[in-house]
Amino acid sequence: MEKENWLFNISPKNNTFNLNLKEVWQYRDLLFLFVKRDVVTLYKQTILGPLWYLIQPLFTSVIFTLVFNNVAGIQTGEIPPFLFNLAGITTWNYFKECLIATSDTFKKNEQIFGKVYFPRIIMPMSIVVSNLLKFGIQLLILLGFYLYYAFYTTTVVRPNQFLFLFPVLILIMGMLGLGLGMIISSMVTKYRDLTFLVSFGTQLLMYISLVVIPFSLFQEKGVEWLVMYNPMGYIIEMARFLLLNEGNISQFGIAYTFISSVMCLFFGTVIFNKTEKTFIDTI
């Protein structure tokens, strides 16, 4: 029996920790084209087009400011409530969109996954990247209001000296969204119940992620346990700390957020990899 040399081998066993990054790199053009597809086709045949990117956070912030700050009387410190909400919502939206879109990966792409092979992880990765572009546009509107408050009103708004760390924070948030999304998408292939959970779960999660209510208020009422174990809470608080120099962050919070995001991404990738091989039979 001569020695057999095969370049590729398909077998039932899947190496759990073989993430095949080389293969993902080979398909990098596909990643780019998926991002392009998502961005180009989202608002086709709409009149306002990409303006929708701006309308969503703007209107939400207006409503939240009216309801939570003017009616319910939540204090936001030195910062104008509108700016406080806008910063929170913009950041939160990036996480939310990443989570909701990636958690649908297998179900939504069943058609194409059932016909042709490419590294499946390209799909959720493209979602995180295309949402990043959207997030960038939304940051512009935040910047606009930021400048308005800085120069045309008497309130003092200034960023923190560590503002340059903001991209790192976004990266961590992207990792968390991608990781969680991949875990959920893998489980959705078998248990469809999770789709319902995700849509209203994220809605509920927002209220304990410090988007509208600052951490200090939770502390004041003695219910900080509600937000203490939620990494998203720390991320939103940190985002506002960097952008508006408002809020308090702790070393525990930073470490906790970082570790949980990395863990999420790691387990997400492993589970996703395990699922991609036979999900087409279960979905």
Partner: protein
Amino acid sequence: MMEQQDVILKVENLSKQYRLGSVGTGTISHDLNRFFAKISGKKDPYLKIGVSNDRSIKGASHYVWALKDINFEVKKGEVLGIIGKNGAGKSTLLKILSKVTGPTTGSVKFNGRIASLLEVGTGFHPEMTGKENIFLNGAILGMTKKEISRKLGEIINFSGCERYIDTPVKRYSSGMKVRLAFAVAAFLEPDILIVDEVLAVGDAEFQKKAIGKMQDISSQVGRTVLFVSHDMAAVQSLCTQGVLLENGEIIFSGTSQDTVHFYLNAERKKVTQNLLKRTDRRGSGEVRFSKVEMLNEFGN
């Protein structure tokens, strides 16, 4: 050693099990049973049941083998025709070969890039133009952007959709979509190309063009093609080797001519019945039909 070099794809003891009923591979209780068997070192309890996959007979088990112990080899430059009735396991085999789903047991080993021809416009985005879709589709099939740009002119030319190339694909007719999809795949240059019943939609002119292209690919460039079809004429003219599947097992393999003959003969035996034994005959009996045969253009 020389022979080893020639074999580009080798399928060994390949089997695929499916569960019948509403859930694809099991319920939570089955999952748990599997899990306990796994941690206590036993074999998967649901893999023992081996029932032949005959869709017309109701089986006792909820599990069924869509493919059972498939073994074959394909040499470089060969065109292998895979034929069989509906539900014989052809598509399952192709799905495993194109890595869409994993096998239950056994393995597939191959050298080089495998690409499968998408069914009508899968992966096409209706809102994007033909040209944009060529890039997207090419990338899905594993091409890089550079490769596609280099071949863009040829692809558009081959598809014959030049006039519509900047129009969204949703305005295309289904035939045009197939043409475009096939054109992308034809210029893919994989080492092994898998083609599953795609020619059925195009018109005669395009079918001829597509078959010609596939012949070019195999004979001139020396690439391997796996071709699944119910069109026996196409299988005979295009393929060199053939494999006949029935109920998930290979029951015949040989040259494509032999395989097609075997298949058609086997099918003919099943519908043959002795006219002399029928009791519902009428007439005086002076002249009797002893045999009625229906033949196609090949005399089969």
